[in-house]
Subunit: 356 residues, 2 copies
């Protein structure tokens, strides 16, 4: 029976190859890692032995000796959110090029899970950490940075010494969203939040408030619905929205998923989008182009974000960071699609369609 099949595979060590080639282990090691250091003839003999024995170096032994694991940890708040999947793709594209492995840390929106991954970092299983999460620090909680490992923050900016930031311009974009809605004639606003306690949410809401102020409105003109970055948050927000007498007409959702949930729910009650209510999302996930109507949203340069973050991390690991790269803030693109439009509500006289 084959139950122990893989146990029976004989492990080939560098010493076996050395013996087979009639050289020392040092020479074999050199052939494999620094071929210029050996004679061509020796090289060929060793390579032949490697080939015939099917030798592959044991990477754990290499890691121990070289003190480099060639692994990085990527901590994401939730895997099923396409935003993180897309960022991860960028990270993957950049890092596997340079031989790094990616270990994923999935919090599934539960902050307390972070502890496991702090352990991972502390036990030196990885050379660096890419944080796609970011929470407002709680005292007493052991955090990633206690590990002393190189960290790159890719949530909204963490202003902390020694931690580079690779983020998008959330705050500016959110402010811009409000201005955009205001230009369309909206006067009462709704804000569907993201995960409370997350720095991203703090930033986006701050931008939103700035926008409200800049456009000359009072914070009282704003309704805020709270919840994590998921569909159901939008649905719940919509439930509340539907109960209101004086409904807001311009809604900003801190992520596409909740925007989509919101729209789906209100449309089920014959609220028209964008005629009765305009909705603008945030992220630019692929799916947002397949909803009906297609979602107006800010597109994050997700893949690039991942690449850049990974690049910064690998430079940080190699101690090759240039000071000007310590904070990268990528711009977002407003995708004007079909869930936003001028106010048509009876309260308002001028339709200002020209303002679109």
């Amino acid at each position: 029976m084959s139950r122990k099949r893989w146990r029976s595979v004989k492990e080939i060590r560098i010493a076996d190859v050395a013996r087979l080639a009639g050289v020392s282990t040092a020479t074999v090691s050199r052939v494999l890692s620094d071929p210029d250091k050996v004679r061509q003839k020796t090289h060929d003999v060793v390579m032949e032995a490697v080939r015939r024995s099917g030798y592959t170096p044991n990477s754990t032994a290499q890691k121990l000796r070289t003190r480099r694991t060639m692994n990085v940890l990527v901590v994401a708040p939730r895997l099923t959110n396409p935003v993180f999947a897309e960022i991860l793709r960028g990270v993957d594209d950049e890092l596997t090029q340079s031989g790094y492995g990616i270990i994923i840390g999935n919090l599934d929106n539960r902050r307390e899970r972070e502890a496991r991954y702090v352990d991972l970092a502390l036990s030196r299983q990885v050379d660096g950490v890419l944080l796609l999460t970011g929470y407002i620090p709680e005292k007493g909680q052991r955090s990633m940075r206690d590990s002393g490992l190189p960290i790159v923050a890719m949530c909204a900016a963490i202003h902390e010494e020694g931690i580079p930031n690779v983020v998008v311009q959330d705050r500016e974009a959110t402010r811009h969203a409000v201005e955009y809605l205001a230009r369309l004639g909206h006067r009462r606003f709704g804000y569907v939040s993201g995960t409370l306690g997350s720095i991203i949410e703090v930033e986006r809401f701050a931008g939103f408030r700035e926008g409200i102020a800049a456009a000359g409105f009072s914070q009282d003109d704003v309704v805020r619905w709270e919840g994590p970055f998921v569909f159901s948050t939008g649905v719940a927000a919509a439930e509340d929205f539907l109960k209101m007498k004086e409904r807001p007409t311009g809604i900003f959702a801190a992520c596409d998923e909740s925007a989509i949930g919101f729209i789906k729910r209100v449309r089920a009650e014959r609220v028209r989008v964008p005629q009765d209510v305009s909705v603008i999302g945030f992220d630019g996930i692929e799916f947002a182009d397949y909803t009906e109507p297609t979602l107006t949203t800010f597109r994050q340069p997700l893949h690039e974000l991942g690449r850049v973050g990974a690049d910064v991390l690998s430079r940080l690991i190699r101690n090759e960071m240039k000071p000007e790269d310590w904070s990268v803030r990528l711009p977002l693109t407003l995708l004007e699609r079909d869930t936003t439009g001028p106010v048509l509500h009876k309260d308002y006289k001028s339709l200002r369609r020209s303002a679109v």
Copy 2:
């Protein structure tokens, strides 16, 4: 400046703790891994030293000595497909419980990328592999199973000695899909494929053909559109569909994304779903409940699939597999939603609404 901050963190080794506690390294090791083997008093002294020094064992050294990396590799065809994200969640839930780390392998739908991950396996960076991919073997290509590592196949069944299968009943479900469409009165069928060369696609198409035959139709009544498991495959299929004179009325798409792409595209041309064409998807991703109309589809038990696969793998690693678990085939659930309905086309006289 802090550019070298993490370099200056002094690494604490087990020897340091031993010295601090006035015991040998063996004792420290025992305290940490097998506390019953030491006297209570010694235990306390050592733990205090551990605490004060902030020691965490170097996991690379542990791995080398114990020959267990406590890492598994998960190879997925494409990260941004919510199907794999969801499976990954299940895997994560199961494996991080038992202390395993997850290294991801993302093929991004490009088969040739598999080679990198074969290297990972060969160099013993992981204790086992979870294959969410599966391609029809090509000769000469070095495959995962050459690594001799425990592997669990979670794509459609790979019938190979020593490789357990944890899969869904694709074939049955697909056959069922055809029967379902046939009962609704459909007589001409469309099949939107998944990635060619993938075993999943082979299985699903086989099931489809079986269904066609079982329902008494000829394979000539079927149009097949080819492409990978992505939105645009459905869009492209729709383009072709729109050009046809005699359009199929019952469409099966091998994944929800392409089903959604298809629907979006045909609706843009005023083709009504389900009145003009019924579409049934496969996967049951969360989005499918937010499209308009909501998508009829087969729900895969994704999270459970991940958990079970991970469980089987960890048992396989520990050599605790029971023969009856070598093939697990989870059932799918048909979610009857709004993209399927009885044929209303003028060609057919009886609407057979009762057949729904």
